[in-house]
């Protein structure tokens, strides 16, 4: 039986449950005109029966679907001849995959032999049986749940309270998704990172100066021993972040000051939304621009004055990233400047200070904590930014402070190590998780401090 059929059946079962629930609640008091005798409105009785019908059945359905493939595969393995069962796990997986593909009519690698077709038939038989059993179980549970709930309906039955309590629990469960996500991130990164650090000592990872993650496939291979000193990556990330900040902080801050303190309202109303467009452009578009327009332009400019510039220079990536971050800095600075009380501004102006003196000597010092907090958040954006550096910065792990050279960053290496085939037992793949752990911890730290500073400062003037 198809899964959609089961879901449709459950759907109609719940519709029926709602109908019978409302009908019974009306009947127990004796009709529409005696409704006030009922504790809850008929609809709540309907919902109550519906939830009791649907929820357990859905839970069973979900668990079943998660467990089903594993059980079927285990059963098939048990029926395989001894020779196949003692194969290596990789070969066994391939065989099982072929069986499954043959059964559902997909492409099979290799020849279809008797063993394959026999087991494919078995697979189909198991699947059909499993789905029939599932349909019966689900409908049975739905029916039982519905009937029990239905029998509970009395005039004084508190259906509304029950339904509302269930809804509250559902809302709370939804709010736990945010927490589960954080836990998921921490664990998925942490476990693999720990496995990595079992092979490579933490000190080598944090302080080693040589990064070349290619490990040898054969023992006697030359030249690719694999070394995991991440300092060049940190240095590269730092270099690009510094370049980006050198662009974004002055420009973003001055923009915010100009728009808040100097410009006419008309100009502000046009310029501000236009600048916000910059924040909405996907990073892959910036990456394209950095790689195909900015980098060649910088290279030509460098050659014109006699500098040798790498085609994937840190400068191109950093400049474009800086432009991307301008709106972040300017909107957070704008918030901070706006939060400075009007009275301070007016006081300075009344004493004869020029506008720029007011800004530099009164507003900026007062808004400084908020601006610093905003800059910290912007730094964390720059460190975690991926697409621009993947497309415009190189893969060469050079330890250099020269912005015209190619550098690589933490995010670039994570992408390079994880795109393509992954083996979760090689240090090369696991290194990506160790890098991600660093990335997560650093950006989290910056965010917590940044948010704390921004918020604390905001409270001061409120």
């Amino acid at each position: 039986m198809q899964l959609t059929t089961i879901i449709l059946l459950l759907g109609s079962a719940s519709a029926a449950a709602y109908y019978f629930g409302t009908q019974r609640s009306l009947r127990v008091v004796g009709g529409q005109h005696r409704l006030p005798q009922l504790h809850s409105l008929p609809a709540y009785h309907g919902y109550f029966v519906l939830i009791r019908t649907l929820l357990p059945a859905l839970a069973v359905l979900l668990v079943w679907l998660l467990v089903e493939p594993k059980i079927i595969m285990a059963l098939i393995v048990r029926h395989l001849p001894e020779a196949e069962r003692s194969m290596s796990s990789g070969q066994l997986d391939l065989l099982l995959n072929n069986i499954q593909n043959l059964a559902i009519g997909d492409v099979v690698s290799g020849k279809v032999n008797g063993l394959l077709s026999e087991n494919a038939a078995r697979f189909v038989a198991y699947s059909t049986a499993s789905r029939q059993l599932l349909a019966a179980t689900c409908l049975g549970i739905a029916f039982l749940g519905g009937v029990f709930a239905w029998r509970k309906i009395r005039a004084d039955f508190r259906a509304r309270t029950k339904v509302e309590r269930m809804l509250t629990v559902a809302l709370m469960a939804a709010s736990s998704v945010a927490i589960l996500t954080t836990i998921g991130i921490v664990f998925s990164v942490l476990f693999e990172a720990i496995r990595f650090f079992r092979e490579i000592p933490v000190s080598e990872f944090l302080f080693g100066l040589n990064w070349s993650p290619q490990t040898a496939m054969r023992v006697d291979q030359v030249g690719s021993s694999g070394s995991f000193g991440a300092v060049p990556l940190f240095a590269g990330t730092l270099l690009i972040t510094v370049i980006a900040m050198l662009v974004a902080v002055p420009v973003g801050l001055m923009t915010a000051i100009y728009l808040a303190e100097f410009s006419s309202t008309r100009f502000r109303e046009i310029a501000k939304p236009l600048l916000e467009i910059l924040a909405g452009v996907p990073t892959v578009v910036y990456g394209f621009f950095a790689a195909l327009t900015m980098a060649p332009a910088i290279r030509r400019a460098g050659e014109a004055v006699g500098l040798s510039v790498a085609s994937e220079s840190a400068l191109a990536a950093g400049l474009v990233m800086g432009i991307m971050i301008i709106p972040v800095v300017s909107s957070l600075s704008d918030d901070a400047i706006k939060a400075v009380p009007r009275a301070m501004r007016d006081g300075a102006l009344a004493l004869g200070a020029t506008r720029s003196e007011t800004v530099l000597q009164i507003i900026l010092p007062a808004a400084l904590p908020g601006i610093v907090g905003g800059i910290l958040l912007a730094v964390s954006r720059a460190i975690g930014e991926t697409m621009i550096v993947v497309m415009a910065a190189g893969l060469a792990a050079n330890l250099t402070a020269n912005p015209f050279h190619a550098v690589t960053t933490v995010t670039v290496q994570i992408v390079t190590l994880l795109v393509g085939d992954q083996e979760f037992d090689s240090a090369k793949t696991l290194a990506a998780f160790a890098l991600s752990l660093m990335l997560f911890v650093v950006t989290l730290g910056l965010n917590i401090v940044g948010l704390h500073v921004v918020r604390k400062y905001r409270e001061q003037y409120e």
């Binding site: 998660l66 509304r160 509250t168 809302l171 709370m172 939804a174 709010s175 998704v177 945010a178 996500t181 954080t182 991130i185 990164v189 002055p250 420009v251 973003g252 801050l253 001055m254 923009t255 000051i257 100009y258 728009l259 303190e261 100097f262 910059l278 909405g280 452009v281 996907p282 990073t283 892959v284 578009v285 394209f288 621009f289 195909l292 301008i326 709106p327 300017s330 004869g352 020029t354 506008r355 720029s356 003196e357 530099l360 964390s380 954006r381 975690g384 930014e385 991926t386 993947v390 497309m391 995010t411 994570i414 795109v419 979760f424 991600s436 997560f440 950006t443 989290l444 965010n447 948010l451």
Partner: protein, 427 residues
């Protein structure tokens, strides 16, 4: 203070006044310049993209008189569409057009003027209407990307023969075809109807676009209900306790976690642990849902906060329970604001590409995905893939795909702005 010192102060102030005013002007100009930097970049940015991408919406085609002769298509008697040599038919037509194609070398060079898609187009025509067999058809067929680039002026004719993709002879042929008005530029429909391809002239964004659509469907179906439920819980029900604080801290931090880390979560949890198919739009949608969740929660909370307490109090006063107050009054009033937040979250998700690289959505996928578990890619990832391709013809296609992506984002943001304007209500 006596009169003397008063006038002295005045003198000091007036002496410095010009300098101070100059400083003020300099500062003001610096501010204007900074604002201009952003605006000028914005204009350059879009102008570059438009100039690079505009040409990709046109594609060069060749008009050929295709003779669908039985001798070529069915040499052994019965006609079988799967084995018929349509390449031969198309090449014969071009050879007749050019006239002086002699020898194998010449023929090989001539063949490279045509796209491999030309033969498929003839095949599709016959498949639709088998009666055409034996007749002669005037058809509009795609040429190879190199010829297209030559006509668009992206290949320098003055270069040494070995330095450019087309030989002198090929260029001579192309010129002859231009003289005969055989080469025409038409709207590039392949860009919107095909999946990815190794041949630039046949590649399109349809596969990536469908992948993005499937992913956004999953994202909105998960992120919107969960986000709204979380916002309602936090604003209306949650007691100020440890749990609520924990959720709050988590949301703020998740909003700032680099998106690539979410990709690792998808790889480790959804693919390796739960077993969702790799590269499918299902796993992509799940990851994007987690990324947009904080955006939707924050917007929904703001929308709920904007509903004045008097409405809640009035409903409660009439005997509504807390759940009824929320369901009948708060939610309908806050819904437009929530939807605005959802659209903005979706536009963020549409532009996201880094996490998708982690979960295998960078594969070269020719087929247009037909379901949630089919291997798929997304529009921004397609842009990334094309940007990496060395062919000149892919560069203009990348820019064209970017224009399409930005067009969608613009539409979504406009919708959000209009919706916000329309529902903005002063209580």
């Amino acid at each position: 203070m006596n009169v003397r010192s008063k006038s002295m102060t005045r003198e000091i102030v007036e002496a410095g006044l010009a300098k101070r005013r100059r400083k003020d002007r300099v500062f003001r100009t610096l501010g204007l310049l900074s604002t201009a930097v952003g605006l000028v970049f914005l204009i350059t940015f879009f102008a570059t993209l438009a100039s690079q991408g505009a040409s990709a919406f046109k594609q060069t085609h060749i008009i050929l008189n295709i003779e669908l002769s039985r001798e070529l298509l069915a040499p052994d008697g019965p006609f079988d569409i799967d084995y018929a040599d349509f390449d031969a038919v198309v090449r014969q037509a071009l050879r007749r057009e050019l006239g002086d194609v002699n020898g194998r070398r010449d023929r090989r060079e001539m063949n490279r003027l045509l796209s491999i898609g030309a033969a498929y187009q003839v095949k599709d025509t016959i498949a639709k209407n088998p009666d055409l067999l034996g007749s002669t058809l005037k058809m509009l067929l795609p040429v190879s990307a190199d010829v297209d680039m030559l006509l668009k002026g992206n290949i320098d004719r003055d270069l040494e023969q070995s330095q450019r993709p087309l030989s002198d002879r090929q260029i001579e042929w192309v010129d002859r075809l231009i003289e005969k008005d055989r080469l025409v530029s038409r709207f590039n429909s392949a860009l919107f109807s095909n999946g990815d391809s190794r041949e630039p002239e046949l590649s399109g964004i349809r596969g990536a676009l469908m992948g993005s659509v499937y992913m956004l469907l999953i994202t909105i179906l998960i992120a919107f209900p969960v986000g709204v439920a979380t916002a309602i819980y936090l604003e209306e029900f949650a007691p100020r306790n440890f749990w609520a604080d924990l959720v709050e801290v988590n949301i703020n931090n998740l909003a700032a976690v680099p998106s690539i880390v979410f990709g690792l979560l998808g790889l480790a949890v959804f693919i390796n642990w739960i077993g969702v198919p790799r590269s499918s739009s299902l796993v992509g949608g799940l990851v994007l849902a987690l990324i947009t969740l904080p955006v939707i929660i924050i917007a929904s909370r703001a929308a709920i906060k904007a509903v004045p307490p008097s409405i809640r109090e009035a409903a409660t006063g009439l005997g509504a329970s807390r759940m009824q107050v929320v369901a009948h009054h708060v939610l309908p009033l806050a819904l437009p604001g929530m939807l605005t937040g959802a659209i903005i979250g979706m536009s963020r998700a549409l532009g996201e590409s880094a996490p998708l690289l982690m979960i295998g959505m960078v594969a070269f996928i020719v087929d247009v995905p037909a379901g949630f578990t089919d291997p798929a890619t997304a529009l921004p990832v397609q842009i990334y893939l094309w940007a990496d391709s060395p062919e000149r013809a892919f560069a203009e296609r990348t820019a064209a795909a970017i224009i399409v992506l930005l067009g969608f984002l613009l539409l979504m943001n406009l919708a959000a702005v209009i919706m916000r304007r329309r529902v903005e209500r002063q209580w």
